[in-house]
């Protein structure tokens, strides 16, 4: 497998995540895009772990997965509460902190 191809693949995933975060107004898709970025970085860990032949990268993947799971739990809870307050999932509606 070509290493640079794999890196570009992971970079592409990350960019898709960023673009999703910046453009999507639906809170769930927004959330999904964050997960996508996390997994893009996971992929990079795996690629380099294999490339250099050590396991530290794989260990980090598990850390990221755990954090992502915890974040998903907290994030979804926040989302549900947000939805309860305004009955919408459009995150642009939640701009109460505007200066």
């Amino acid at each position: 497998m070509n290493l640079s191809l794999l890196i570009f693949f992971s970079l592409g995933m990350f960019l898709i995540g960023i673009i999703g975060v910046l453009t999507k107004r639906n809170a769930l898709v927004f959330f999904l895009s964050i997960e996508l970025m996390l997994n893009a970085s996971n992929l990079l860990f795996v690629i380099f772990s294999r490339q250099w032949g050590n396991q530290i990268g794989l260990a980090w993947v598990f850390f990221v997965l755990v954090v992502a799971a915890a974040e998903a739990a907290v994030g979804l809870a926040i989302l549900i509460n947000l939805f309860r307050t305004k009955q919408v999932v459009d995150i642009d509606q939640y701009n109460n902190l505007r200066g």
């Binding site: 927004f30 995150i91 200066g99």
Partner: protein, 623 residues
């Protein structure tokens, strides 16, 4: 003895502090008692000092109570000096002060804010005693400013009346000009003598300087400026007539009997220095004479009872300065004493009328009040006769002494001016007496019949002052071989200037002029205002407005100053200073409103900022 002195000085201060601290919590009666008792005890202890002095010749010596400024040359102590001169002043201040305290109980009975009044009155007594007893000029200056403050507070006692507030400010500002002169004189004295100790200065002035030394003359001139301000002489007299906006007992105590005498006292206290500067003394005499005549003429035209008396005070103070000017410091002090009695009497009996008529002071609302005030009008009459110079009442002797003095010293012009002023005095006092108590009543009968004689607590002090006004002149007499007041004051070198004049009372042609003049004034005014009162029009406008001095000052000083102030407010304050500050705040605002757009509250825009930040950081790290 030493304790007695401190005791009598600090008692009124204690009264002031107590009344000020617990102003709202002390009921009426204890307030009256505290206030009057402190002054009364102070008077008693001064009287005790006098009695001990008379029998043993011992006076409490000036002791250092406290070292105030322990800097080498400027070493200044809080130390008191009691000698016959300061003892006389202290007795006048506390004696008349006590009578007026008692009188005030009646006068202030309807006021809610009585504690403030009595506290200020006590503070005044303390400050005046400090002025009188001070051993060095610096401490005297403290007292000098203290009485100015007390005067300001009491003129503005009814601060909610715009006229009173304005009069208080005017008094304070005009006095400030004089005080500045005194302060400069004090600094010059320190420069010349290296000390502010009064006795040392007096001694060194005659030893180290020639007569008429320029610097010494400037110093005495500056002191005289201070005296002019405090004693309301030309051209700084404008505050005193306006000061009549204050309560009448205050006018009697501060603006007639005690504080305004401070200028005379200052000159007499420093007379060894003034004697070294004949030019200044000449000026003192001329200013005094001019003021005496000017104020007497102004008094004739006043239509307000209290303002007549105020101008009369200015005029009599002018006579005292006239006496000082020819070196007759004893005559000045004698006149100061008798005038204090008589003017307090006049003011307090006028106060009875004012008080019982609910604060009316305009003469055109009075008239025909003699039946309503059976005692007051006789007391006022005694005051009129005494101040006019009718023998043998108090002021006759002192005024006569001053006039005689001028004549014998060869100041004939000043003598005739003084004589004219005293004839005018008789005239305007009789005029005001007739307009107040006789003639046709201006008030409707049903109101007139309700005006009653003042309560007893207000009459008693006036009776005592009336007695003093009758017998006060005998202070100048010689019993046996010891002249009373003169022998007393001789100790401090305050004597009759003319050797030809013996103490006591001698009939001279000038006396006949003075007595004749007094009767002439009284009779003319009596005939004019009793018989032809209705046919006389309003007083001459120029006299009524006291030669338009106030208007002149308004025109050449006050208005330009106000426009200058307005210019500074509008241009410098609003334009430049506020402009600079507004420029800064406007820029801060603009920057903030730019930055505020970042805080949109949109999560996605925050995310965008983070992305941009990361990208910038990465570009920086890579390149």
């Amino acid at each position: 003895m030493h304790c007695a002195l401190c005791f009598s000085l600090f008692l009124p201060l204690a009264g002031f502090l107590i009344l000020m601290a617990f102003a709202d919590r002390i009921p009426r009666l204890p307030t009256y008692i505290i206030s009057c008792a402190t002054v009364c005890l102070s008077f008693i202890s001064f009287a005790a000092i006098l009695i001990i002095y008379t029998y043993t010749g011992m006076l409490p010596h000036s002791d250092t109570l406290y070292t105030w400024i322990p800097i080498e040359q400027l070493h200044t102590d809080i130390s008191l000096r009691i000698d016959p001169l300061s003892l006389l002043m202290a007795l006048i201040v506390t004696g008349i002060g006590f009578l007026i305290h008692v009188y005030s109980i009646g006068y202030i009975e309807h006021e809610e804010d009585f504690a403030r009044y009595f506290a200020c009155l006590n503070f005044f007594i303390f400050a005046m005693l400090l002025l009188v007893l001070a051993d060095n000029l610096l401490l005297l200056f403290v007292g000098w400013e203290g009485v100015g403050l007390a005067s300001y507070l009491l003129i503005g006692y009814w601060y909610f009346r715009p006229a009173a507030a304005r009069a208080a400010t005017k008094a304070f500002v005009v006095n400030r000009i004089g005080d500045f002169g005194l302060l400069l004189g004090l600094l010059l004295a320190f420069h010349l003598f290296g000390t502010t100790h009064i006795a040392t200065i007096s001694e060194m002035a005659s030893q180290q300087y020639d007569k008429g030394d320029t610097l010494l003359t400037i110093m005495t001139l500056l002191f005289f400026v201070g005296a002019i301000g405090k004693s309301a002489q030309l051209p700084l007299h404008v505050w005193l007539p306006d000061a009549m906006e204050g309560p009448t007992p205050v006018s009697a105590l501060i603006h007639a009997a005690t504080m305004v005498n401070a200028g005379v006292y200052l000159i007499v206290r420093l007379h060894p220095v003034f004697m070294m500067t004949p030019q200044t003394l000449q000026l003192v005499g001329v200013v005094g004479a001019a003021t005496a005549l000017y104020a007497a003429l102004s008094a004739v035209g006043q239509t307000d009872l209290k303002r007549v008396l105020a101008y009369s005070t200015v005029s009599q103070l002018g006579l005292m300065f006239l006496a000082c000017g020819s070196g007759a410091f004893y005559s000045a002090m004698f006149h100061l004493t008798t005038h204090a009695f008589v003017k307090a009497l006049l003011f307090l009996s006028a106060g009875n009328v004012v008080h019982m008529m609910q604060g009316t002071t305009e003469l055109n609302k009075m008239g025909g009040l003699s039946k309503n005030f059976p005692y007051t009008h006789w007391l006022f009459f005694i005051g009129v006769l005494a101040l006019s110079g009718v023998p043998p009442l108090a002021t006759f002797f002192s005024k006569d002494l001053i006039l005689e003095q001028e004549y014998l010293a060869g100041f004939e012009v000043l003598f005739y001016i003084g004589l004219a002023a005293s004839i005018l005095t008789a005239f305007y006092l009789t005029r005001v007496y007739c307009l107040t108590f006789f003639g046709t009543a201006k008030l409707p009968p049903q109101i007139l019949s309700q005006i009653k004689e003042a309560p007893r607590i207000m009459l008693l002090p006036v009776f005592i002052l009336g007695t003093l006004a009758i017998i006060g002149g005998f202070l100048g007499f010689t019993f046996g071989k010891t002249p009373l007041l003169e022998g007393f004051l001789k100790e401090v070198g305050v004597t009759l200037a003319e050797k030809k004049l013996s103490s006591g009372f001698i009939l001279t042609p000038e006396t006949w002029y003075a007595v004749g003049g007094a009767f002439f004034g009284i009779i003319t005014a009596g005939i004019l205002y009793l018989r032809f009162a209705d046919r006389l029009g309003a007083p001459l406008s120029i006299l009524k407005h006291s030669f338009y001095v106030d208007q002149l000052y308004e025109l050449i000083i006050v208005t330009p100053l106000k426009s200058l102030a307005r210019l500074i407010t509008n241009f410098f304050e609003m334009g430049i200073f506020d402009g600079c500050i507004r420029l800064v705040t406007a820029n801060v605002n603009r920057t903030a409103s730019l930055l505020i757009t970042m805080q949109s509250g949109q999560i996605r825009s925050y995310a965008a900022w983070i992305v941009i930040g990361v990208v910038v950081l990465m570009i920086y790290l890579v390149f």
